[in-house]
Each structure stands twice: as C-alpha cells, then as structure tokens.
Amino acid sequence: MAVDMNMSVLIVDDYKTMLRILRNLLKQLNFNNIEEATDGSMALDVLRSNNIGMVISDWNMEPMTGIQLLREVRGDDKLKHLPFIMITAESKSENVIAAKEAGVSNYIVKPFNAETLKSKLVSVLGEF
C-alpha cells in the first residue's frame, strides 16, 4: 500500500531547533503536513484533537517524557496503532529495551542523518 504523503506527522521535542530540523528534513522527504509539540502532554492533546498519521518523538522532555507519551498512546484504543518513532540521545540498551517493551515502532539515536531518518520511516511506513 502506498504511503500517504499527506498524512499529518506529529514531531515532539522540547528543543525548538530540533523541531525545525525535523520539519525541514521531513519536508525534503515530501512530508509537508507537520504538527509540533514540545512535550508529551502537549503531544497527547494534539493527537486527541487531530488526525495524526505518525509520531516522531524525543525521549527526554518535561513534564511528560517520550516514553510516557508512548505508553499513553499504546494504552489509548484510538491511538494505539499509530506508528511511533523514538528519536533520542538516550542510547543505552535499557532505554532501547524499555522503548521496545512499551511498543515503539523504531528507534533513532541522535545525532542522526537524513538517510537514517528515511530508512526508519521506510521500515515503519513502507517504501515511498
């Protein structure tokens, strides 16, 4: 099935710079419909009031972290099937394991490049 390039992608990060980087890189990959949030709780509000097709979230945020957001998403009947990519500087094994156990779709470690971002998007959504 072809990937809907018009889907809304929610990017979540407490660093505005990173939001901007992600937005620009996603635009270069032809994802033009992008929503932003700066922590987990704000992201949940956006998710519950918009038709979001995928979440790309940082881990280390306050007050609600990325892993907490992931658990909330997976515990919500309406959101639990959303593709969820964690993109974080937290690179310890226990982080990856915890994210996987919480139901993460894929995991990108910072610093990352556009090629890695694309390959993870393809692995989650399919070729585009």
Partner: protein
C-alpha cells in the same frame, strides 16, 4: 583424712582451668570454695583464698597487660581523627566555600546557560539562511537543484549539534547544582555559622543498588562518543526482539 581429699581436688582442678583458660569460671570456683569451706573452715578457706588471689592477680595482670596498649592505640587514633577533622576544617575554610557557593557555581551555571542560548541563536540564523536557499532552490532544476538539496540537508543534519550540546550542558548544570548542595552540606557541618547559610542539603544519597529501573533512571542524556551506542547497535538490539 580420706574424706577431705576429693573436696580439695575438686576445687584445685577448676581453679587451674580458670587461670589458664576461663577467667569467668574462677568466680564460680571461689564461690564454690567458700561454700565448701564450711566443712573445713580454716584450712580449706586459706588455701582457696590464696588460690583465688592468684587467679584474680593473674587475670588483672592479663587484662592490664593486654588492654593498656589497646587503649593507647585507641586514644592515638582518636587524636589523629580529631586532627584530621581540624585540618579538613582549615582546608575547607581556605577554599572559601561561601564564595564557591554564592559566586563561582552560579556564575558557571549562567555561563553555561548563555552557551546554550548563543548556540541556539546561531543555529536559528543558520537555518533561516538555509531555508532561504531552499526557497531559491525551488526555482531551479537539474544538477544545481540537486546539489543545493544535498548541501541544505547536510546543514540541517549538522545543526543537530545544538540539541546534543544543549543536553550535555544541561547535564553539567545539573551536576553543578548537585555540587552546590554538597557544599551547602559541608558548610552546615564544618562552617562557623557566621558566613554560611547553614542550609541542610535535602538531596538524599541515592542507593547504588536498584532493584527496578525507573523512568528517572532512563534519563541519562547523551552518552560520550566512545560509550554511545551506534545506530547499527540500536538496530541490532531492536532486531533481537523480533
């Protein structure tokens, strides 16, 4: 007197044992001897008292001989400890902990915050310019557009340094705050009260043995380059679940 023999014998044996091995038993032996002496008051009593004196004397000598050096060692250790504490107080005082707490640490934190701000500003300027290049690029075709696309992508990737740097600096600021609390604790213990706030450190020592990994434990921030897991290692770990 055949009847007296067993009594004297029974007193002598425990007394010998008491001297050599069990001083505590000597009390029972003496007590027993006093009771026994009722049948032979003078003779038996004299012998047993002499024996008891020998036992007590030997025990006292033994105790004095052994305890005295230990006591002096203990005194010496306590004296050294007291001197160590005094020296530590002098050294801490010479470091001007109040100055460290009130000036150096806050200044260091402010400087680091300023670095975060400056790098964020610079990164935003770089991205403003890059986005402008992208706008121009939209009107181009062919090889030139592709080259500009590659260049702008690389600029965006490189701008990620601000996020990582910011996280690292935030970690250092957090460490400085922790040091500040410890300096507070030192002032409370060693400070003279005149130049210290005497605030008690509220931060509890974290136990190193953790039974369960909490969400808090998982907030480690960026790893140093030599320790950080590569994307390939992350991928392998994820794949191990499939």
């Amino acid at each position: 007197m055949p009847a007296a023999k067993p009594k004297i014998k029974s007193v002598r044996k425990p007394a010998k044992k008491a001297v050599t091995k069990k001083p505590a038993a000597s009390k029972a032996t003496v007590s027993k001897a006093v009771k026994t002496s009722s049948s032979k008051p003078v003779k038996a009593g004299t012998i047993k008292a002499r024996k008891a004196a020998v036992v007590v004397g030997k025990v006292m000598k033994s105790v004095q001989g052994k305890a005295a050096p230990k006591t002096s060692v203990l005194f010496a250790e306590l004296e050294a400890l007291a001197k160590y504490i005094q020296d530590a107080k002098k050294e801490i005082s010479a470091l001007s902990p109040d100055e460290v707490k009130d000036d150096f640490l806050p200044t260091a934190s402010d400087e680091l915050d300023a670095i975060i701000g400056a790098t964020a500003d610079a990164t935003n300027v770089i991205m403003d310019s890059t986005e402008l290049v992208e706008e121009v690029m939209a009107g181009l075709d062919g090889d030139a557009a592709q080259k500009l696309m590659t260049a702008t992508t690389q600029i965006y990737e490189a701008c990620g340094f601000q996020d990582i740097t910011g996280q690292r600096i935030t970690k250092v600021v957090s460490t400085l705050k922790s040091i500040e609390e410890k300096v507070d604790g030192l002032l409370a213990v060693f400070g003279d009260g005149a130049n210290s706030t005497q605030k008690k450190s509220t931060k509890k020592t974290k136990t190193k043995i953790k039974k369960e990994i909490t969400d808090e434990d998982l907030l480690n921030g960026p790893q140093s380059t030599d320790k950080a897991k590569s994307q390939a290692e992350i991928d392998a770990l994820l794949a191990s679940f499939d």
